[in-house]
Structure formats: structure tokens, C-alpha cells
């Protein structure tokens, strides 16, 4: 199957239900190479479930996920990583007792399929690449610290570094600035934009902070109750009354 209308990621009619709850209820999504796409929506809109379906953590009940024209629906997470989709998680998913350096180094080795090596000391492997990534995200100084002991903002940067180590074509970010101080938020988003630009990475992220969303995204997809409510440029979304209603509460008067 050829890549339709040049889309990098194509999601078609994706559905997922938990018991009786329709968490994702027929979502279509098309992300072009090189764009920065934000997914927003109130709590419970289905953003996280959608992410989990794309990255292989959950299997959809119906629908398809195509990446670079290839069907990756329901593949296991490690296969999807090797296909070129990286994912950065919220805070709890780092390797807290590994050092910052080791965390990124292991991600590099895993991506390069070099982890089935039993006797080479890993300390000397991919040192330069690791250092480069750590420098890029501003963690060069902290390389030896245990990942669990660095500040929250730095952990988010580490999370990003681990995802970047997979050399992804598409990077999915799950609330990249959650829990950050305003200063860290600015710094982090600037860094993400810069790296994505430099390495030609397509971004797909969900975020609550509207400053971040409107400052970073090229296009925005708004989800509500498991469906896509609207999609468009930042300006289009800002002026969409349906979106405003979802966010500010419907005015019955």
C-alpha cells in the first residue's frame, strides 16, 4: 500500500472499548511528515488511549494504524519502536535506578539491536552518541546521576532523550510539560522544537497547557468523548465555537 496523500501516520476508524466504555470511538487521523501535531481535549477525551493504540501498548478493537504506508496495527511495542515510532511518557516511566547516561545508552543499544550481546562491557559502547543526545537535551552535566534523583524537569528531558535515542521518524509525546515549572516548560518546548527541526522528526503530542499547544503545533486535533471534534490550524481551532464550548462549558442561558 502506498503512502496515501503523503501521510506519515494514518489512523483509520480506530476503536477501543473497555467493558461498556467507548474510550476511542472511530478516530481518523492523518499526520504529514515534518509537522507538529497537537492532540487536545478535556480529560477522558481518549487522547491517552489513542496514543496507547498507536504505540502498541493496547490492541484496537477495530480500525487500522498505518505508518509510512505499512500496517502496524496491533504490533507489539518493541516492533513499533523498531518501525520508527518513538514515544516519551509522563513522569513515571523512566528507569529510576539507572544513571541518566545508562538510560539513554540502553535506548540506543536497544534500537540498534545490540542488546543480545552478553560479554562486551556496555560501559564503552555508544558513548559518543549517548553524550551527544544528552548534550542536546541539556543533561550533559547530570550523566552520572541516577535517573530517579534528578529534578522533575530534568526527568522529562531524559524521557525525551530516551525517545530520541530510538532515532524516531515520528515522536509521540505524552504531555511533555506536565508538572513543570513555567520556566522549565518554555525551555523544554523550545528544545523539542529545535531538535525536531534539526533532525526532521515529526511530532505528535498531547498537552493541556494551551500556551505550549498554540506555540508549538502546526495543526491541532481536538478530541471529545472518544471522537475527533475538530481539526485545523491553530487559528481555526481558536475560532471554533464547538471547541470553546467543550473547554469553557456550554452556556445554557
Amino acid at each position: 500500500m502506498s503512502a496515501m496523500d503523503g501521510a506519515l501516520l494514518q489512523v483509520r476508524g480506530l476503536r477501543k472499548w473497555f467493558g461498556g466504555l467507548q474510550a476511542v470511538d472511530g478516530v481518523d487521523l492523518s499526520v504529514r511528515p515534518g509537522e507538529a501535531r497537537a492532540i487536545i481535549g478535556p480529560n477522558g477525551a481518549g487522547k491517552t488511549t489513542l496514543f496507547n493504540l498507536i504505540s502498541g501498548h493496547l490492541r484496537p478493537n477495530a480500525g487500522q494504524v498505518l505508518f509510512q504506508g505499512r500496517d502496524i496495527t496491533g504490533r507489539p511495542p518493541h516492533a513499533i519502536v523498531h518501525a520508527g515510532i518513538g514515544r516519551a511518557f509522563q513522569i513515571t516511566s523512566i528507569f529510576s535506578r539507572l544513571s541518566v547516561f545508562e538510560s539513554v545508552q540502553m535506548a540506543l543499544l536497544a534500537k540498534q539491536k545490540r542488546t543480545m550481546s552478553f560479554f562486551r562491557p556496555r560501559a564503552r559502547l555508544v558513548v559518543d552518541q549517548t553524550t551527544a543526545i544528552l548534550e542536546a537535551v541539556g543533561l550533559g552535566e547530570q550523566a552520572k546521576m541516577p535517573a530517579g534523583a534528578i529534578s522533575h524537569g530534568d526527568q522529562r528531558a531524559l524521557e525525551l532523550a530516551i525517545s530520541l535515542a530510538a532515532n524516531p521518524t515520528l515522536l509521540m509525546l505524552d504531555e511533555p510539560t506536565a508538572g513543570m515549572s513555567p520556566w522549565e516548560t518554555g525551555r523544554t518546548m523550545e528544545m523539542i522544537r529545535r531538535i525536531a527541526r534539526e533532525q526532521g522528526i515529526t511530532l505528535l503530542f498531547c498537552e493541556h497547557d494551551m500556551e505550549v499547544v498554540f506555540g508549538t503545533a502546526d495543526r491541532i486535533t481536538v478530541m471529545h468523548q472518544g471522537r475527533v471534534l475538530a481539526e485545523g490550524t491553530t487559528n481555526e481551532i481558536r475560532q471554533n465555537t464547538a471547541v470553546q464550548e467543550v473547554y469553557l462549558g456550554s452556556d445554557e442561558q
Binding site: I91, G179, H208, D209, E252
Partner: protein, 239 residues
């Protein structure tokens, strides 16, 4: 420490810095609720509303600052003592005891001693539909009924102060309107409330004062009249 809180200040947060795990969530946050006053805390998802409530209840790590209730520092107080001292908590997402019946969810409460005590019957009078389902498992209730149940459960503790975490989330407009009436009625009985909300239309209708919170900091504090229609409201809540 200073006990200069005026008598009317029922709850006072004094420059608290709160953490959840290693992440710093609240930055020098201060707010106050007077006796019988309804105050809302407005902000988007992830702004720090829930952490504010958890800090009061001693469930988040507060590394600096103090929380005063009835003029006492409550940082070391075990949760059940807080409940028995009149703090009622309405958690987000209809956090009922799913494997207990509706009635048991109410009866399980050990609250404060108060002259006018709440009883199961009074709660059922307030929410007749709950009364109809008294012996059903709470886990099977719809979102709206769960919300009523957690409110009713908090009332069963005869609270002097209610902490509410997004009570309208996911509720149909008609249910939200009935909650509006309820809260206004409760306000009449002299219960103080700290109401965390994203739905400012609802919150501003029932509150005396409002705080706007964003990224763990109070950005704006004013009376409801001032807040309504202000630029800040749009900036911190809208799109």
C-alpha cells in the same frame, strides 16, 4: 508559629510547595477560606487543583509552607482525624466504594459531631434517586449518581468545610444544574466550601470568591463578579 489567623479563616494555605513523587507541583501557593464561605479554585487540567486538595488532606508531600484548619496546623494529622474534625472531601471522578451499596457508602462515614446531624434519610431526601437505589452496589451507578453519592457521603460527615474536586466533570447539563441548586442550598446551611473546577460558569454561580490557578501558582484572586468575564478567565481556562 503565628496564630494570628482571624477567627473567620477556617482554612488557610500559607505559601506551600507541594510535590508528587519528585515533581514539584505547587509553587508558594496561598489561599484561604472563611467560615461559611464558598470559594472556587479555577484552572485547567493539570494546573494543580487536585494537588492543592491533596496537600490539605496530607496526601501530597508538602516540603514547605503550612496548612491551617480551625487555627491548627494539620500537616501531621491522620486523615481520619481530619474527617472527624469536619473536613469533608468530594474526590474527582465519583470515587465511591464500588463494592458497597449506596446505603453502605453513606453509613460508612464517621464524621464530626454536630448539632444538626446528617442522616442517610436526609441524604436520600436530598437525592431521591439515590434513595431508590439504596441497596444497589455503588459501582453500578451512572456518573451523575456517583457524583451525588460522593457529595452525600461527604455530607454524612457533618462537615464544616467541604473540599470538592471537579464535581461537575462528565455530568450532563441538567445534572449540573441540580448540583447548582444543591450547593446554593448547602451554602445556606453555613458549610464552607473549596470548589475546584474547570467549569467556571457553574463554579462562579455558587461561589463568593474565586482563585485562578495555572501551573501550580495562583494567578488571580477576586470576587466572582470581578472574575466573570475577565481576561484572565479566558487566558487560564479557555483555548
Amino acid at each position: 508559629m503565628d496564630r494570628t489567623n482571624s477567627e473567620s479563616e477556617l482554612l488557610k494555605l500559607d505559601a506551600i510547595n507541594a510535590y508528587y513523587g519528585t515533581s514539584h507541583i505547587l509553587f508558594d501557593l496561598s489561599l484561604a477560606v472563611s467560615d461559611g464561605e464558598v470559594v472556587c479554585l479555577l484552572g485547567r487540567n493539570g494546573a494543580g487543583k487536585t494537588t492543592t486538595l491533596l496537600s490539605i488532606l496530607g496526601l501530597a508531600t508538602v516540603k514547605s509552607g503550612r496548612v491551617w484548619y480551625e487555627g491548627k496546623d494539620v500537616q501531621k494529622m491522620p486523615p481520619y482525624r481530619m474527617a472527624r474534625n469536619g473536613i469533608g472531601y468530594v474526590p474527582a471522578g465519583g470515587r465511591v466504594f464500588p463494592n458497597l451499596t449506596v446505603r453502605e457508602n453513606l453509613e460508612i462515614v464517621r464524621g464530626a459531631k454536630a448539632p444538626q446531624r446528617w442522616t442517610v434519610q436526609r441524604v436520600f431526601d436530598l437525592f431521591p434517586r439515590l434513595g431508590d437505589l439504596a441497596n444497589n452496589a455503588a459501582g453500578g451507578l451512572s456518573g451523575g449518581l456517583r457524583q451525588m453519592l460522593v457529595v452525600g457521603r461527604a455530607l454524612m460527615g457533618n462537615p464544616r468545610l467541604l473540599l470538592l474536586d471537579e464535581p461537575t466533570e462528565g455530568l450532563a447539563p441538567i445534572v449540573v444544574r441540580s448540583l447548582e441548586d444543591l450547593f446554593l442550598k448547602l451554602k445556606g446551611t453555613g458549610v464552607a466550601m473549596l470548589l475546584c473546577e474547570q467549569n467556571h460558569r457553574f463554579a462562579l454561580k455558587v461561589s463568593d470568591r474565586a482563585y485562578l490557578i495555572d501551573k501550580g501558582q495562583i494567578r488571580y484572586a477576586a470576587s466572582t463578579a470581578q472574575v466573570r468575564g475577565s481576561d484572565e478567565l479566558h487566558r487560564y481556562l479557555g483555548v
